[in-house]
Structure formats: C-alpha cells, structure tokens
Symmetry: C2
Subunit: 194 residues, 2 copies
Amino acid sequence: MRVPKRERQRQLAASLEQNPFMTDEELSKQFNVSVQTIRLDRLECGIPELRERLKTVASRTIEAEVKSLQSDEVIGEIVDIELDKRAISIFDVTEDHVFQRNGIARGHHLFAQANSLAVAVLDDELALTVTSTINFLKPVKAGDRVIARAIVDKGRSSGKRMFVEVMSTVGDETVFTGEFQMYHTTELGRRDTK
Amino acid sequence: MRVPKRERQRQLAASLEQNPFMTDEELSKQFNVSVQTIRLDRLECGIPELRERLKTVASRTIEAEVKSLQSDEVIGEIVDIELDKRAISIFDVTEDHVFQRNGIARGHHLFAQANSLAVAVLDDELALTVTSTINFLKPVKAGDRVIARAIVDKGRSSGKRMFVEVMSTVGDETVFTGEFQMYHTTELGRRDTK
DNA sequence: CTGGTATTAGTACCAAGTGCTAATCCGGAA
DNA sequence: TTCCGGATTAGCACTTGGTACTAATACCAG
C-alpha cells in the first residue's frame, strides 16, 4: 500500500474541495491508483460525481451573482426619491456585513449606503464625492434594517457643488449621520437647459 | 411556423442566460419544437451544451468566491503593519469598482480600504469607527493600484479614543485622505497588562 | 494456508450530448 | 399546379464521465 486508504481519501476530499473540476481519471493519475478505487473512495466519502459537483458549484455562483449585482448598483434599495431634493434607501444588514468577532456592522457598509444615496439623489452623468464628514453613533447588528434619508441642502449648494445630508436610522434610533459635499457637472437649476 | 426562427433563437439565448441549467429536452418542451431544432439553434448561436455551460458558470464562481472572501476580511491587502503605529495596504481597482457611466471608482471602495486599514492597525477585539472626515482629491480609475498608508496619531489619541490618519495614493498622486476617530476597548499603553 | 480487506478489471447501462444523413413539411415563385 | 428551398424532425453511431454490479487478484496477518 503506497498511501494508507484513509489518508488518500482525506487528500481526495481536500483536492476536490480546492478544485471540483477533476474527473475520476485525472484523480486516479494524481493518486496513482485505478479509476475504480477513486470511485469507491468517492462512494465511501459521499462525494458526488463531476457533473453533480459542477451543478452545485454553478448554482452557488448564480446566487452570488444576484447578490453582487445588487451591490454593484446602489448599496441598499432606493424606495423613494425626488431628484435634487431628497431620497430614501433601505439596507438590510446580514452576517456578511459584520465583524465576526463582535457582530457589529463594518462602518464602510453604512458609508456605502449613504454615499451611493448621495450620488443617486443628484442623478447626474458625473456626480462625485469630494469631501465627507461622518459619524457612527450606535453599533448596527446583523438583522437590522437601516433606513438612510438624504436631503440636498439647497442653501449651501451652488454651481457644481452640492451639499447632501444623510441620516441613517434603525428603528427610532439614529445610527449614522453624514455630510457629503458632492461635485457634479450639471449646475443647479440648469438641468432643463441641458 | 409558430414562432419565427430568429425570434425563437433570441428567446433561447435569453432563457439560457437567465438559467443555464436547462437540458435540450427541457428547452424543446418550453419552445414546442423538437430536441434537434434546439440543437441546431444552439449550434447557430454558438451556445455550448449544458455541461460546458455549467463548467464556465462554475469557474466564474470560484473566482467570485476568492473575491468575496477578500472583501469580507479587509478591503485591500495589507502589506506592512506595525500595530498601534502604522499600516499599509494595496487595493487594485477593477471594472467592478467603478461607475459604468464614467469609469471612476465609487467613493465607498476607497473609504472601505482606508476604514478597514484603520481598524486593522488597532487590532483590537473591538475597534469601531466613531467619526471620520474624508477627502476625495483625484478620481481613481479601473486598473489603478491604490496604496493606503495609515498612521496612528499618538499625540491626539488617549484612553479609548484613537486618531488614525490615512492617505491613499496612486503612483505619486494623493487621491484620498481621511481622518478616523476610532473607539476601542483596550486602552493605549495597556495592551501588555490585559 | 486461509480469511478479509483493498484494489483492480470488466461489463452493462445512463444522461446529455455531437455529428451526420435522411426524411418531411410548408410557403412562395414559375 | 408543381417544384424549390429553408426549416424542422427523425434516426443512428459515437463520446464523456459517470453508476451499479460482479469477478478476479493482491497482499498482509493470524
């Protein structure tokens, strides 16, 4: 026996974990045993055949892509918007957004929700964040639903500079506030003439 | 002819785009044509068979998982760190991080890199961002390599409050600066006694 | 030497195809 | 009407990467 059976099966499982695309024949060469032995090993370990493995891996992809798609556009879902005035978005915090160590949401997710809302409310070809001052007031946990409200501060905005205030709440508690100074190409009050 | 060939092929492509798991037989039922017709359609449209489709979809997953893993831990890769003093991380901007409309990186990615670096440099059970003021100085594009440098400002830090300055550069240009006021449980200078 | 485990070999069969040939349908032009 | 041609359908041989099962062989310990 070159390598004890038990050990080979352990390595087999690890190998397929890392690269599920291998056929039994390729595996048999890797471990220097016959194809049949590989099949028996898979049987004993409950490892499905190549096509089944690919199916499950592929379906995980699909789910992942749906997730990343939503994260690509705007962080959070915009539920109400009045261009150049105000907007509201909802962001559901999941286990993916928190530190494992303490279960508190990473700050950049709250920032991302607020920032992308500030961009969305201006709805311009080119709307960029220039400067921002933000405050994390209360920790946010997985399962929390964060509602961000953005309001364009018309008083301070002028020309290509816009000021957007964002306040995020969970229930009736404010968890985050941010002030965003944005740059955009279309000047205030000139949108109709473009 | 129930549905013109051209239109059926268009729908076929769309159908498989949305759900690549369908066999020719299932498709033939959906479109009320024979399996052979489906095969000819796939041939003409250059759509591979089920197994090949799953292979490509599954391989996309593998890449995606590597990506999402890194995005879970720290945004960017930490290349140098001296706890409670300074740290450096590298973040490669890809197409995924930019606005489609103008190719400029979304602000929250730069913030995320800086913020997670500020958290990492403190390396505490509980290190949270309290307040932050940030400036986006130059637009960042896909392909850029952003290097973020975090420095703990010992002078202003005391007790459970720490001040971290982050400066991010692309080449020799500064693209982002941020000041982070952090809260953490372990007090400055007391780490050894815990 | 015998028993039991591990391994290998071989066969029949399956799913989901490719590749090819042949038959059939069906609508419009001569 | 008849004939042509594209579209469709059918059928068959073959391929991959397997499952399920049986049988043979190897090898090691008691």
